[in-house]
């Protein structure tokens, strides 16, 4: 099972005669002023050769989209460089095209005209432009939709026009930023299948593809290599070849083995590391309410002691991306833990899931007090006059380590946990936290 994935070493693939297209060398990116700068990407290195379909995987906050923009030449790196065919990239890469999550098509132009517009900078005569645009629409199966306006097209068809527009300029490398994630599940299925038909059937002039996605299953379904990024900041924590034959069967053991292995890799580094220098060293999983944690533990009842995160997410109708903060919160409260791509319900978690509301509060109270932010709020309130403090007081502390928005989310989350365990409460009128 594990044989399907090999950790990539430079020598894994025979390199003779295969040109290297993209080389990312020591690329870092930070935002903000030097004194308070936020590191988004940290020392990224990889290269992409002809014939490769590489998936760039990572959760929110891994800087994967920023990295894609750097490869395209839309955003300069703060340090390091990107080479294309051995030459340092200067501005936008003329040999690359990019497909975004959803395309801004011109609403007053037809599908055909939208594709023709992409060809305008090439300076072709109008007849030549039309012929090329028609040919590319034909190739992606949009023959018959030439005179349709974007509003007449469903999301999937619009995205096909987006692909056609990117392909029209005959790029050597196609970059894609979550190209299927704005689509409904069936349209996404159709478009993935058709993209693979064009790619594997070598019907495209394209020599390599790089796709950003947060969807591990999608990456394993399509790509022949996955580069995995950590978050806050983004660092390369895995670089695998995915050596499964096409078409890939999502129900096969080998497929699930690869998916599982990547989940394990990503969840291993899920522990919040957002602001290590912050006074409050361990932030709460953003915006996770106790109700969601309770829902997770209830979902585990009647199952084996452990459950695959991917299956659990599907049963909870969530993306794994959304589930991870909830499992992190459960872990923080001693209700369960994530191990090797599975969520394991601990005895306390089982007791919690089976208990009534009052008992749940009792069970969780001592655990909540062990959470640094909750503990801190509780002790501050205990020593305060009237056992009340304005929320601004806590927000001020939190702002030292978090953005304005995240500071508020942290406080809201702490209030939810404090309220549930009846450790403290919040008065909406006076905007104060208090102990009754």
């Amino acid at each position: 099972m594990e044989g399907a994935v090999t950790v990539r070493e430079q020598a894994t693939r025979p390199s003779t005669g295969v040109a290297t297209l993209v080389e990312v060398r020591g690329v870092s990116k930070y935002y903000g002023k030097p004194e308070g700068r936020i590191l988004v990407l940290d020392d990224i290195n990889f290269s992409i050769r002809e014939g490769e379909f590489v998936a760039l995987l990572g959760q929110t906050g891994s800087g994967k989209s920023t990295l894609l923009r750097i490869v395209m030449g839309l955003t300069p790196p703060s340090s390091g460089e990107v080479l294309y065919r051995g030459e340092p990239l200067q501005g936008v890469n003329p040999h690359a095209a990019i497909v975004f999550q959803s395309f801004a098509l011109y609403p007053w132009f037809t599908a055909l005209e939208n594709v023709e517009l992409a060809l305008k900078p090439k300076g072709l005569p109008p007849e030549e432009r039309r012929r090329k645009a028609e040919a590319i629409l034909d190739m992606v199966g949009l023959d018959g939709f030439e005179d349709a306006y974007p509003r007449e097209l469903s999301g999937g068809m619009r995205q096909k026009v987006g692909f056609a527009r990117a392909l029209a300029v005959e790029p050597e490398i196609l970059l894609m930023d979550e190209p299927f994630s704005a689509l409904d599940v069936l349209s996404a299925e159709t478009l993935r299948g058709e993209l693979m038909e064009l790619w594997l059937g070598k019907k495209l002039p394209i020599k390599a593809m790089l796709m950003v996605t947060h969807n591990i299953e999608e990456a394993v379904l399509l790509a022949d290599r996955a580069i995995v990024l950590s978050r806050n900041p983004g660092r390369v924590i895995g670089d695998f070849l995915i050596q499964l034959p096409y078409p890939r069967d999502r129900n096969s053991r080998a497929f699930n083995g690869v998916v599982d292995r990547i989940y394990r890799l990503i969840t291993r580094v899920v522990a919040p590391t957002a602001v290590p220098e912050a006074e409050l060293a361990s932030p709460l999983p953003s915006g996770v309410h106790i109700d969601e944690i309770a829902g997770l533990t209830e979902q585990m009842l009647g199952r084996e002691e452990k459950e695959d995160l991917y299956r659990l997410a599907a049963d909870l109708h969530m993306e794994v991306d959304e589930l991870l903060p909830v499992t992190a919160a459960a872990e923080m409260l001693g209700l369960g833990r994530v191990e090797r791509g599975d969520f394991i319900l601990d005895p306390l978690g089982r007791e919690f899931a089976e208990a009534d509301v009052l008992r749940r509060k009792e069970l969780l109270r001592p655990k909540a007090l062990e959470v640094p932010l909750v503990h801190r709020i509780y002790t501050v309130l205990q020593s305060a006059k009237d056992k009340r403090m304005p929320e601004e007081f806590f927000l001020d502390i939190l702002r030292k380590g978090f953005s304005e928005r995240e500071a508020r989310v942290q406080l809201e989350t702490a209030i939810d946990w404090g309220r549930y365990t009846e450790l403290f409460s919040y008065d909406h009128d006076s905007r104060e936290l208090y102990i009754e």
Binding site: G144, D147, S154, V185, L186, A188, T190, G193, E194
Partner: protein
Amino acid sequence: MASIIDADVPLPNARVEHIIGLLEVLDEETAQGQVDIFRLGQRLLLSIDDLLPILEGARLLRFVDVRDGDVNLTDVGREMARADILERKQIFRKQAVQVALVREVMGLLARQPDHTMSRDRLLEWLETSLSELWAARTFDILVDWGRYAEILGYNARTHELHLTVASSESKVTNEV
């Protein structure tokens, strides 16, 4: 093959790409035989309300058989799931012209001067057997299927629908 489907039935809200996506999923899920529709909805994270019109569309086009809450691909459904982009359009066309309503509209257009008809007139015609809402929805799906199958063209600037198939194929529909 005689059509068993009444032309008075509106076309379900099933876009081509949704039907194809469904067939691809079914090709994978029915490897061991038919699947339960409720299960399929769960697997796709689709509510039954969203899934049923798409299934109904696939059934009208004879890509799937639905029986007792289970669904399976027909031979042509499986062929469609595995065909390439251009073959799919041909298969879809063969199936679409067997749908009673599609045939009737093709026949209607074939009798018009220039094989062209305004949206309003076609809606009027549809409204003789469908409610206003369903007539409008059916029109949208008709255009979606018709464009994909390259049977119909619709110009949203002039609001005109026209027949785009070769005359030999439109003749077949005239016999309806």
